[in-house]
């Protein structure tokens, strides 16, 4: 375990930034969108709450090139985009976002592996920061997330200090930087962690969402309550873009000087184009699209992977303009369980 004073955090991050590309949570003033950015001069760090945009985009960017086609001058060739090597460090990740990565791993690292995601995953050293002040819309404990400890290195802030516990082999790569600024210590911080866990378990949203649905697919799919739940959904896609576990993507080409670049982009099951074919549209109205998103998180993903596809980060709760969010869905589907059992 390593320990440094609160004032020394900047020195530690600067030391890491010397050697690695370092990303930290930042917020540029009240009302701006907080997200993970390059450390730079260390200004505008935002450590007191969960960011609006999570760490997903550092591993699965909103837009990335997968291949180039050269078609000029009678040529016709394909070149796949090279993967980058070398490590980078993400400091200040929340446990829910890290669980989000583990959820994405089940999809992108399953055969056939997604090589671009995999390379970023292998390159990323993730330092979590414990969540001392959960937002009232957080409900990560419903999904087994431990908000006090996660990642390759778990950082926890106490009154005067930061503690760092290395949890994985990859985390050990930062030992030189930690040693240069921190002292090693035998302090027991389990009590501090227990305080965080206890507080998190009492988050109002966590209490509201505690009865997760566990019913047969067909019964949940056919519930009349989907009409009510989806009635105000605008199909804006905010919930999917901000969600740490949403993985859907589109593939499109754009012209280059000598051919084309094939890129993949985040897409959203909330959009009508998502499943529209020239042969027809299986999800005709917003109700079907809305149901797809939430059934996927709460039922289909669990059927396929054994865990829920939501980590309780609360972003869709905070950001949905129509307040048509996950907690409402869980409450309604949970009720459905009671009715049937």
């Amino acid at each position: 375990m390593y320990k440094c004073s609160k004032e020394s955090l900047g020195a530690l991050l600067s030391a890491i930034n010397e050697k690695y590309a370092l990303y930290v949570p930042k917020k540029h003033g009240e009302g701006s969108v907080s997200s993970f950015e390059a450390y730079g001069d260390g200004e505008n760090m935002y450590l007191s709450g969960i960011t609006d945009r999570g760490i997903k985009e550092l591993f699965f960017p909103q837009c990335e090139e997968i291949a180039r086609f050269v078609t000029a001058n009678g040529a016709f060739g394909v070149k796949e985009t090279a993967v980058k090597s070398g490590y980078n460090v993400i400091f200040g990740a929340r446990a829910c976002d890290i669980k989000g990565l583990q959820t994405l791993d089940l999809v992108f690292l399953a055969e056939p592996e997604d090589r671009l995601y995999k390379s970023r995953r292998e390159a990323g050293i993730v330092v979590s920061l414990s969540c001392g002040e959960p937002s009232e819309t957080c409900f990560c404990t419903c999904f087994g997330v431990d908000p006090s400890k996660s990642g390759d290195i778990a950082a926890i802030g106490t009154d005067g200090a930061y503690y760092f516990e290395i949890l994985t082999e990859k985390g050990r790569l930062l030992i030189p930087e930690l040693s240069s600024v921190c002292k090693t210590t035998d302090d027991d911080i389990e009590a501090e962690r227990d305080k965080i866990r206890a507080k998190a378990a009492l988050m109002p949203a966590a209490l509201a969402a505690k009865d997760l649905p566990d019913k047969k697919t067909d019964e949940l799919f056919d519930l009349p309550v989907w009409d009510k739940l989806s009635a105000h959904c605008l199909g804006c896609g905010t919930c999917t873009y901000l969600c740490p576990t949403c993985q859907c993507y589109d593939i499109k080409d754009s012209k280059t000087a000598d051919g084309a670049a094939r890129c993949r982009f985040w897409d959203s099951c909330m959009y009508s184009d998502f499943t529209k074919m020239s042969a027809g549209q299986p999800r005709l109205t917003q109700k079907e699209r809305y149901r797809q998103r939430f059934m996927h998180k709460l039922v289909y993903f669990k059927e396929n992977q054994g865990i829920y596809g939501c980590v309780g980060c609360g972003r869709c709760v905070r950001k949905c303009p129509a307040s048509a969010h996950m907690i409402k869905v869980i409450k309604e589907l949970g009720k459905a369980d009671e009715r049937h059992t």
């Binding site: 997604d114 671009l116 993507y249 754009s254 099951c269 998502f274 074919m277 042969a279």
Partner: protein
């Protein structure tokens, strides 16, 4: 140019031959640049075809598993398929695959088989029929029921009225919704024709076609007492990745690109009603 490792990145292939099947369906014969088959496939599997900046889409492979080319029968129905229809032999095309769970042709051995197809739905079925006919001794009686809107809309006429008709222990029943255009055969819809052809036999069924036809034919088969686990069909959804990752083609917890496109009727009934 470079070795391709990414399942999302296609290889360069060449259109060798283009057959005009109907006014709006053409069959494209494709090989790798060196003339070889781009990859092996099993009947029922699909592949992604694309042209830079023109689009990419999934098509079922219509040639049998032992063929030395990949063949795709494409119906003109949108901007990318229009562009394909304008292609000429010799043109380069991007291909990736094969994708999906095939028809379990080895489980069909020693069985009588009933193939039922409507319209362009004969494309995936043709791969199974020809794969079975290539090993004729392994299968029992083969019956093929095929329907299209009208005589000019029948695809694979050479097979329907030539190769398949002449094959051992094989019967072909062709019907059109609308007579005329020089057609003197059966007129009527496929589901009704099924009960005329097969009310006393219970072969394994392989069924492909437009959703309405599938729906009514399944109802007819159930009425005739066919067992669900002996009826196979294919589903269609929009696809982008082909490998169960882009999240686009699911019906319930199944991804059509990876867990399908072939489903047994009993599996189909487990899925939420969204196809």
């Amino acid at each position: 140019m470079n070795a391709i490792h990414d399942p999302l990145v296609p290889q360069v292939c060449v259109i060798r031959e283009i057959i005009t099947e109907t006014p709006d369906v053409k069959t494209f014969h494709i090989t790798a640049e060196n003339g070889e088959k781009p990859f092996d496939h099993l009947p029922g599997q699909c592949a992604m075809l694309s042209i830079p900046c023109e689009g990419e889409a999934m098509f079922s492979i219509t040639s049998p598993m032992d063929s030395d080319r990949l063949e795709f029968s494409v119906k003109r129905c949108g901007s990318f398929t229009n562009r394909l229809h304008d292609a000429a032999p010799g043109e380069k095309i991007l291909v990736r695959g094969p994708y999906g769970r095939p028809f379990p042709v080895s489980d069909f051995e020693n069985e009588d088989l009933l193939f039922i197809a409507g319209g362009i739905g004969l494309a995936p079925v043709r791969s199974v029929i020809d794969s079975c006919l290539d090993r004729r001794e392994k299968y029992g009686k083969i019956r093929i029921i095929y329907g299209a809107r009208s005589y000019p809309d029948l695809v694979f006429k050479d097979s329907l009225f030539g190769k398949w008709k002449e094959a051992d222990n094989t019967e072909v029943f062709v019907t059109v919704d609308r007579g005329g255009d020089g057609w003197s055969g059966h007129v009527g819809f496929v589901p009704q024709y099924v009960s005329e052809v097969c009310n006393d036999c219970k072969p394994v069924v392989i069924l492909c076609g437009p959703p309405v036809m599938i729906k009514f034919t399944l109802a007819e088969l159930t009425k005739l007492g066919f067992e669900k686990y002996r009826v196979y069909t294919t589903l269609e959804m929009k696809m982008k990745c082909g490998i169960g990752k882009c999240g686009r083609c699911n019906i319930g917890s199944k991804y059509v690109c990876r867990d399908g496109p072939v489903f047994r009727l009993d599996e189909l009934e487990e899925l939420p009603d969204e196809y």
